[in-house]
Symmetry: C2
Subunit: 392 residues, 2 copies
């Protein structure tokens, strides 16, 4: 029997080109790795916690400064670090949504948005996607009107994924938020696939809330993330406790209800901080990342029968591909069935495609070098060729 302490050292990132859809933006930087080693102990950032006792006030390590820098970089008024983007959705839904309220999200919304709404007692209503798998401002307006009629009240919150997890499509967040604001609905931008990956300007988008993921896109350990708010809503989502011990008279004034006090007391926040300068820098090279993504997609499209389901040309590094008429045709004859693809990729040093997948699958090229991009593209083509598919 496998024992719970029997943990093999992980060498995926050292040994392979990893194109896992969710992992590529969360690979640590060397500086983050150093910081992780220094701050791995439990409450490691609390050595110099002094009144007021709250994580975002700690000066050493410079967590307070990090919060200020992060707000400026995202162009938002207030930020807090959180244990994963989902905990940001939870905090906002808990603050704005009452039982029975309709809440708008999209047909491409991440499941954690549904969970946040459900926990708050809200009722999710999806904006439809169009034929090219995009969410438009027009569709948002139509759905808002429909839902408002259905519930005889305006939804208190709208979620919009800046880039969705299914297609990696970049949606018209600015237009959708403008629409939401016309109905006085605050908007939360799910930036799990954008903050730390590509340039994001909260105010330019009109975001009332902007959520990012440390472990998905900010080169940080899990669970980590950021919840940013515009001034109008910061006091609401970051409200301090009003609780009072009825016998002792104890109060806990500076602690924030939705944050549950402090959030990331050690390795996670320090990992985010140490990667932050690199993350700020890397978003400036987004055009190169997109070009890399495009190159691999074009490589795949040169394999007969292969289709790209994501928007084309690519505007993001996460792509959904349809190989039912190419690799899956091979799989039906291959002695390894659908596993031939992940096997053959692994032999060529590529990992991150779910073993067995040959029909519709996703990959993410973020962070790969020019040379790795070329290797990846050639690997797909070589595998196709070896298995009798034509290259066009």
């Amino acid at each position: 029997m496998r024992c719970a302490s029997d943990i093999e050292a992980r060498d995926v990132e050292e040994m392979y080109i990893n194109i896992d859809p969710i992992q590529v933006g969360g690979r640590l930087t060397a500086d983050a790795m150093k910081a992780v080693i220094a701050y791995a102990d439990g409450y490691s950032v609390c050595d110099n916690c002094r009144s007021p006792f709250r994580l975002d006030y700690i000066q050493k390590p410079p967590i307070a400064q990090f919060h200020a820098d992060l707000a400026r970089w995202l162009n938002m008024d207030a930020v807090r670090v959180i244990p994963g983007a989902r905990r940001g959705f939870q905090a906002v839904a808990s603050s704005l949504v009452e039982r029975g309220d309709p809440v708008i999200l999209t047909s491409l919304a991440h499941y954690t948005e549904f969970l946040a709404i459900e926990e708050a007692g809200g009722i999710p209503r999806e904006i439809p996607k169009d034929d090219s798998n995009r969410i438009t401002a027009d569709a948002a307006a139509e759905r808002i009107e429909e839902v408002t009629r259905e519930f005889s009240r305006t939804p208190p919150l709208l979620f919009i994924d800046h880039v969705d997890y299914q297609y990696g499509n970049v949606h018209d967040v600015k237009g959708i938020i403008k629409t939401a604001h016309q109905y006085d609905i605050p908007a939360l931008v799910n930036g799990a696939y954008t903050v730390g990956i590509m340039p994001v300007d909260g105010k330019a988008l009109g975001a009332d809330f902007l959520v990012g993921s440390g472990h998905k896109s900010m080169a940080a350990p899990a669970p980590s993330g950021v919840l940013a708010a515009a001034e109008e809503y910061a006091g609401k989502v970051f409200r301090t406790t009003e609780a009072r011990g009825d016998l002792t008279g104890r109060t806990f004034g500076i602690k924030e209800v939705e944050m549950m006090g402090c959030t990331l007391m050690g390795v996670t926040v320090v990992g985010m901080m140490a990667s932050f300068p690199h993350v700020q820098e890397r978003v400036n090279h987004w055009e190169t990342e997109v070009a890399h993504s495009q190159a691999v997609v074009d490589g795949l499209l040169s394999i007969e029968g292969t289709r790209v389901l994501s928007e084309y040309p690519r505007r993001h590094t996460l792509t959904r591909i349809d190989t039912r008429e190419s690799f899956d045709r091979v799989a039906q004859q291959h002695k390894k069935r659908g596993y031939f693809l992940s096997n053959d990729l692994k032999k060529r040093g590529v990992i991150g495609v779910i073993p067995g997948s040959t029909r519709v699958w996703k990959f993410n090229t973020f962070g790969l070098t020019e040379k790795q991009i070329r290797h990846l593209s050639e690997a797909f083509i070589a595998i196709a060729r070896e298995n009798g598919l034509s290259i066009v």
Copy 2:
């Protein structure tokens, strides 16, 4: 200006004897440190995530096995890992407490319990402590009756801290829960200062919920923790989502609402797992830990004017001490004022007492060696002697 990426390497645990009240149980084991280095990247445990897609089903690393082992060890029916004990309080309060419900906790309850109740819309009601700073079953019964009369309904939940954060006193959890059950009130045991530190048997205590902290007491990175539930309530707090995309028909069946899907996707859960065999072993030496604590307290009590505010003899390693008539008398004359104590301790290689504190303060001796305990005790006495206090 300090820059957010200007993170000095932390060497507190290597260079000093740390007696910080909250940090001592969260120091990593060597195995955890190795695991942290291998799994520091964001979603590092998701390499082999296969259907059903949820953290506690992952076989490699053996997270599923860890969950089973943890449940057996705590003698509870179901467990999940969570980003800190507070997130366990939040999950339970959100599941059981409706707006306006009274919720019982104690005069020694941690502030995060208040926050969890507040977020759920509940109204906290404290059980008083007795003259020796203990919570008793009788006081619990009396308060439950009083609160039930006040609200004309039974509180849906009672929180009891196994060992409280203020005095480090061990309370009659078993008796209090027995009382709660007589009124049909489920009880949550806050084991942040016990799970991973001393033996804890959930069923023997009668716990409906048992919460532990990874970064406080299980030698794990932050934020981490465990929420365990008895069978009767597991289905409630770990309920799976019923959300459905109204247009797409999407469902997310296996994801648990209060867990927000997956919780600790990388370094945190692996840190807990790698430390787990050591944590299981160390609780067996609890008597030695308590004897160490007692020895240091006795050393302090030999300094004239010093009083212990925690229960005596000691039954835990966290102690609240009153030195207003000893070290604080020195502080009033000392050129460094109250800082002399932390300064002098640091010169002797001891850290973790809040700088400036000489009146009422706390320390925690957990995990120190015999030799370190002797050194610590002698350090206090030597500092007292040097500053003209009598040793009795």
